[in-house]
């Protein structure tokens, strides 16, 4: 089998796909919290994607992709038997896995997939794992079963109440705290505002928060500094120093501003893709 080959694919929602990719070198060395960089096409961009799972025996890795722009739409249109043009990894510093005691693992939207390997590793290290999965609506709550397997307790929150509790992940954390559950550490992955407010709440409640940051990346190997983030007043490169950082003093507003830099171009690229795509359909 060839490197970069898609050996399995399934849809988790109408915008989220799960890929199993043949990548024996990465499967043999991946650790929780690391990521890969995917690229498709000769003029394709480099997209960082969290390593969700890996199977050393099969030599495969799992990546879960939410279609949010041109590149991710192209990725999600690939089929079993297709190959990514390039795939590099594992990149980034792994999350420090040890016995912390009780951990709360918080995933928002597709962040649920990204937080899964951390929950799994924490569980294996003997922690009590409480997982909080948040999403806008029922259909976007992914990997519920897998998360169940690696959690001692699982709480689901949806904005519209279509699954689990109606509300936000922060509401669930407050409830746990009010019930007197002692939590030692929290790991948060999701949309930036969600990470910002969750980290703030955890800090107030005396829970040490960690958040996995998702700035724009280019090379992902520490070369360009595009992904710089401000943690405790210091500039860090998320690709090599992170992506997981202690979250009490992250400048989330700077991160929001920097990740919004190319909004217009992302839209332009996506619209062009849709148009080109439709034209092709028209030809058939």
């Amino acid at each position: 089998m060839e490197k970069n080959l898609i050996v399995n694919k399934k849809s988790l929602s109408n915008v989220v796909c799960e890929f199993e990719i043949y990548e024996p070198l990465i499967a043999a060395s991946a650790k929780a919290g690391q990521f890969i960089i995917l690229r498709y096409g000769e003029l394709g961009e480099r997209v960082p994607v969290t390593l969700v799972d890996w199977n050393e025996q099969k030599g495969t890795i799992t990546a879960i992709i939410q279609s949010i722009g041109k590149s991710t739409a192209v990725f999600n249109s690939l089929k079993v038997g297709d190959k990514f043009t390039s795939l590099a990894g594992p990149l980034g510093t792994p999350v420090e896995i040890k016995n912390y005691g009780t951990c709360v693992v918080v995933g928002g939207g597709v962040g649920i997939a990204e937080v899964y390997p951390i929950a799994k590793a924490l569980k294996q290290a003997g922690n009590k794992v409480i997982s909080i999965l948040g999403a806008r609506t029922k259909d976007l709550v992914i990997l519920q079963e897998k998360m169940q397997q690696v959690s001692d307790e699982i709480i689901i929150t949806t904005d519209d109440g279509s699954l689990g509790q109606k509300g936000l992940v922060t509401d669930a954390i407050k409830t746990l705290h009010d019930k007197g559950v002692k939590i030692d550490v929290g790991f948060i992955i999701g949309p930036i505002p969600m990470m910002k407010w969750t980290a703030k709440l955890m800090t107030q409640l005396g829970i040490k928060p960690y958040a996995s940051l998702n700035p724009i990346m280019l090379d992902g190997t520490g070369m360009c500094g595009c992904c710089r983030v401000v943690v405790n007043g210091q500039t860090k490169f998320a690709c090599v120093d992170g992506p997981m950082f202690e979250a009490t003093n992250i400048d989330f507003d700077n991160l929001i501003a920097r990740t919004s830099e190319y909004k217009e171009q992302e839209k332009e690229s996506f619209l062009k893709h849709e148009k080109d795509h439709k034209c092709k359909i028209g030809l058939h």
Binding site: G41, A88, P90, L218, C226, V240, N254
Partner: protein, 467 residues
């Protein structure tokens, strides 16, 4: 008979007004007629100073003499006895510092345009199918890993392969060439040239593996289990920022990021390519080196209203090649000398709005003999900007050092070599910017070639691991 008094041939160039609208090569080289005239200016000195000054010891009079006879095959073979990257060298080598600076004709008639002749030879030979990968010597059974695929690694890999060793080149990115690919713009070094030179090395039997970052998952120690020796040519890929307030604002790029977007990812083709770049109407480039010139000239081609280079010293102290500074000036890049950056001013959305600067004067010379800039008190002023590209230097990427605890590094973060060029780990060698900290393509190639010799000597004391 040679005739040095013939007019020195400079080759065709794209006009500034045209070239700022494209990424095609600016210097277009010599025509065959010009090459004939230029090659006849060479005196074929018995003790060629040009050759002695060349970092990679190109057989200059020999190749020029062959070229003058019209024997392209002999000319390219003469070059390739020492340099396997002739079309790259002919373009990016600062010849005025080396061969052309040493040419005996320099004072009276102007030096022979050796760089242009080398480039002409390489390009013509390739076009005519005469540029052939040299046949490697008998297989030795030894296997060497070259980390990185920039100029030093390529030079080292090609030379080791020529000596009969098996060589595997590991590259972290998706395309080979290192700084030749992500740093140097295509208008100075077309991508087809990089591609064909690498192809020649591949044809010699060097294996190239992309997307593998040596360090975190496969360490140097891991490589030593499979390979008899490891050459580290991972370059100086860590950007130095200016350390001023506001530097993480939206719209502030390191030169590495900006150049990688434009050159490696081809952002200038967006939306045909998927990677965008956004610089707005007014661009400031900080720094006075070659990267600053590359960044300013790339920025100019993206069509903003104004590109200004802000440099602390005066034009005279600029570390960039004179030719590149002139190219930038011709293209309408503006220069603000004796200007020190102080703070990035942002708008309410966290986006760059201006650069606050101080005026400077020149003070006493520093340890390198360059006069130091001294800030003039209360001389603050603002330069409006939509984007700022910080091109004030690079340091070695710390990944190798971090993941190879036994590898001794200097305080500057460069790999430490002893007086014989050996690292602190047996069998591990290094060169280029990982040891120099930020030099030139040619010095990197020279290091690669020299290291290949040292590795070959080292292997003579070893038996192959034989995998």
């Amino acid at each position: 008979m040679p005739n040095p008094a013939l007019p020195k041939q400079e080759g065709q160039r794209q006009e500034p007004k045209d070239r700022i609208k494209n990424f095609e090569e600016v210097a277009q080289g010599l025509t065959s007629k010009q090459a004939a005239i230029e090659s006849s200016r060479c005196l074929n000195c018995k003790e060629p100073r040009c050759q002695a000054a060349c970092p990679v010891n190109v057989k200059i009079p020999k190749f020029i003499a062959a070229l003058n006879k019209g024997d392209i095959k002999a000319a390219i073979e003469a070059i390739m006895t020492t340099s396997l990257l002739p079309a790259i060298c002919g373009r990016v080598c600062p010849q005025e510092k080396y061969c052309q600076g040493a040419c005996v004709l320099k004072e009276k008639f102007g030096p022979v345009s050796i760089g242009l002749l080398e480039r002409y030879t390489a390009d013509t030979a390739r076009k005519q199918g005469l540029l052939k990968a040299p046949k490697p010597e008998q297989e030795t059974g030894f296997k060497i890993a070259c980390v990185g695929s920039g100029p030093s690694s390529l030079a080292c890999a090609a030379q080791l392969r020529r000596l009969g060793h098996k060589v595997v080149v590991f590259e972290a990115l998706h395309a080979f060439g290192g700084v030749l690919r992500y740093g140097i713009p295509s208008f100075r070094l077309p991508r087809e040239v990089v591609n064909s030179e690498i192809k020649t090395i591949e044809e010699m039997g060097v294996e190239f593996r992309q997307d593998i970052l040596i360090g975190p998952s496969t360490s140097v120690k891991d490589l030593l289990k499979e390979f008899d020796s490891v050459y580290i040519g991972s370059g100086a890929g860590l950007p130095t920022m200016a350390g001023i307030p506001g530097e993480n604002a939206v719209g502030v790029y390191s030169a590495n990021e900006f150049l990688t977007r434009v050159n490696l990812m081809q952002a200038y083709k967006f939306p045909e390519s998927d990677t965008p770049v956004k610089i707005g109407k007014q661009v400031i480039v900080l720094g006075g080196g070659n990267s600053a010139m590359d960044a300013a000239r790339c920025a100019k081609r993206l069509g903003p209203e104004k590109v200004s280079v802000v440099y602390r010293r005066s034009q005279e102290e600029m570390p960039a090649r004179k030719e590149e500074v002139l190219n930038a000036m011709e293209e309408g890049v503006e220069f603000q000398f004796l200007t020190i950056q102080k703070e990035v001013i942002t708008d309410e959305k966290g986006h760059v709005k201006a650069l606050k600067c101080l005026k400077a004067r020149l003070g006493e010379p520093d340890e390198k003999g360059r006069r130091r800039p001294v800030a003039i008190e209360n001389s603050d002023f603002l330069i409006p900007a939509d984007s700022i590209i910080v091109a004030i230097g690079q340091k070695p990427n710390p990944i190798i050092a971090k993941t190879t605890p036994d590898l001794k590094m200097t305080e500057r973060g460069t790999m430490q070599l002893d007086e014989n060029g050996n690292s602190s780990i047996k069998g591990v060698f290094g060169g280029g910017d990982i040891t120099r900290g930020g030099a030139t393509v040619l010095l990197a190639m020279k290091d690669g070639l020299e290291a290949a010799g040292r590795i070959d000597n080292y292997l003579k004391t070893q038996t192959p691991k034989g995998k």
